[in-house]
Symmetry: C2
Subunit: 471 residues, 2 copies
Amino acid sequence: MKLYDKVANSLRENIHSGFFVERDKLPSIRQLVAEHNVSISTVQQAYHQLEMEGLIEARPKSGYFVAHKTTTPTLPITSRPAQRPIDVSQWQDVLEVLLAKENVSTTQLQHAMPNMSVPSLNPLLKKMSSLMRHQVALSLPYGNIKGTLQLREQIAKLATNSGCVLHPDDLVITSGCQEGLSVCLRSVTEPGDIVAIESPSFYGSMQAIKTANLKAIEIPTNAENGLSLAALELALEQWPIKAILVTPTANNPMGYSMPEADKKRLYQLAQSYDISIIEDDIYGDISYQSPRPKTIKSFDEDGRVLLCSSFSKTVAPGIRVGWIAPGRYRDKVTHVKYVSSSMCPTLPQLAIADFIETGAYNRHTRKVRLLYKQGRDHLIKCIKQYFPQDTRISFPQGGYVLWVELNKKFDAVKLAAQCKKGDVSIAPGTLFSATGKYRHCMRLNFSEKTEIEREQAIGKLGFYIEQQIEK
Amino acid sequence: MKLYDKVANSLRENIHSGFFVERDKLPSIRQLVAEHNVSISTVQQAYHQLEMEGLIEARPKSGYFVAHKTTTPTLPITSRPAQRPIDVSQWQDVLEVLLAKENVSTTQLQHAMPNMSVPSLNPLLKKMSSLMRHQVALSLPYGNIKGTLQLREQIAKLATNSGCVLHPDDLVITSGCQEGLSVCLRSVTEPGDIVAIESPSFYGSMQAIKTANLKAIEIPTNAENGLSLAALELALEQWPIKAILVTPTANNPMGYSMPEADKKRLYQLAQSYDISIIEDDIYGDISYQSPRPKTIKSFDEDGRVLLCSSFSKTVAPGIRVGWIAPGRYRDKVTHVKYVSSSMCPTLPQLAIADFIETGAYNRHTRKVRLLYKQGRDHLIKCIKQYFPQDTRISFPQGGYVLWVELNKKFDAVKLAAQCKKGDVSIAPGTLFSATGKYRHCMRLNFSEKTEIEREQAIGKLGFYIEQQIEK
Ligand SMILES: Cc1ncc(COP(=O)(O)O)c(C=O)c1O
Ligand SMILES: Cc1ncc(COP(=O)(O)O)c(C=O)c1O
């Protein structure tokens, strides 16, 4: 890391954490030179960098200030779930979301679906058509049970971006990340075991914990750095936890990325308690940082990390192509995956392999990353405008969902029902808890809509929220 | 049952069991009259019936003899596995088969793969191409978690052929039958439960039992009627069995179809012991009988039968489209299926729906059924010619695999290894036992090869077998 990056990072953190707020005066160049023991030009470069990001503004003769229209919102409060193993409930609520039939006119802020109308997807669609036309026979026989070699080669290459050295043989292709998570959970646990998860977290992984006859222990997270390592360590001391399931990069539903140091520390904790880590990296390639953040897997020395991902969030979920880098659990994972659904269809795998190999995947993720970042900033602006003053909003570092925390009295389940009539759909916070917590929270998606449509939808939500609060 | 049917059945059994062998003289009419206490004309009718079937021949002035060139082979002996719950092993052997890389020159008798070069598949391939060209966008978003409605409608219609009245809402689409079986097992059991299965049976279902932390109890079958109901009843009395998993129609690996009366009786047993039945009907639509045999599901009054199938054996396995009719377990099955791999890709489902709706599926299955029946008769002829005299062969009533039982001293695992060098692949019997039994048996596939190729391969096998026996 360059020196000026270090200075910029420290300032950025202080702004994001709310230490400096809108219009605050920032330290003088001289102060920073002393504080960081660097040259004047280094500090100047750092300030220049933050100015480019729109985070700060220079006022002639007065110095640097936190920008007025900064997008950094007031972050949600660290979650405090009960620290004991529990049975996952909530399936009926999840099912309702999954079965929800939406009108074409609905502004869909509910599902975590990528933008699929971007032209950078065209090379993939073309390849799929062309494979169907010229190699349709390949879609008939059983394929390789570990997945098509061409795809595993490309995924192994991609993995270097996140700091991983993987061999195609270290990979098992799955029907999306959901199958990956289910397979990994069942590969590293026995029925009755306890698995630690982030709270809030993705409902699909919690339901996988449930149907694998496991218990979940929800670990508090904070909206900036993710999993509370202190809380995790406490839980590890108290309970015979068998595995940790985390989404540490561009988390769903919060959007945080755990700092690299925390990821390392998490890995070390797993080592000292001799447990495995299931790392869900499904949004990793569309984190806004460049180069993308490292995975926990990249620190793995003894194969205890099972990395799961898919192209559902970066490309399109209907393709149903995911993968596992199962480390030392390779044989077990291969077994459980075979039993789970036998092999995966060959042509979609070949199409994705080509999409990566030609560089089109990297071009695509670069494009949508920008799009999503703009979406985030716009959505946050809208929420600040239309939602109550005390609303807290997460500040995603990747992906296209964010977390909104309202006043405790507020009921997002009721809002979700109201919304339906108003042709807006949202995901109430209860879905992201194992036991129906976060009723005053919601997850919103910012991948798809035009700014006008998004603003109208948020305006409607704001209106419903006010109605609720007035009652 | 008519009186002459009884007499004919008893003779037929004696021939199939090997009590009477080729060219043996059969009892005189007078003997049978005395033995069965029936009229002369009844015995005459019985002999006439068997003559029509080609099983026996009349020789002027000498009486009746077992036909010389009968296609009905000497059937394998009823299996006698130990009647107690066991842990499934054999995964390493299964994995080896799954990972086997075959030369193009290999005569593949190992995998249960349909013939995929028949022209009657063309309408499906065309539809797949056309969907990709004109509706590729449908392949991008998440689809319905229960599966595409169009396909569920068509499957519901098809099901009437097997005597079932199903509503599209009663169906859940899966990634092949393998996922269906896994999902059903996990939906009706708890870890530690006991599941009754046929012995021999398909390795994929046994491995699913293993990874679901269940125990298997292997029930003897006979090559003609399948599951021994007497043995099953004994097991039900002795053990707290939770479910029965059967492939009662055109069974893999034996090829038998349980008589309808036995299917009914099996259902009644399940009722009286209040357990569920997972019915694997994957080969049902290519049983040689017309109309196709009824499923156990067709007798289901209280929703305890979970019917699983796929288009893997009737159409092509790479399509990965299967389904479950889960009866009263619908909600649980929907849950476990969602967790298992979320939804299935939409376009393959639409292509299959169209294939059925246009009548092309029925035309295709009618065509291949004939093809496979001829394949069976030819393969049996070859085996009789090239294998040792005391070889026993099952006589499939559908599908394209049969079961060969050699002298007990014989080692099919060794043969499989030898075969590889000779560019022939076979499935040793051990794969179809939970604990490595049936080492003197093998499963052979007769779906694909030309008669010349098949005869050459069987000739080679015969040669290797002789070598082994001479040593
Ligand atoms: C964090 C996370 N993991 C896994 C999944 C499941 O992904 P897939 O559609 O590839 O099965 C999702 C989808 O919502 C997700 O958000
Ligand atoms: C009896 C039986 N059931 C299930 C399966 C699995 O089928 P699918 O490929 O549809 O998952 C097979 C495949 O060999 C089979 O023979």
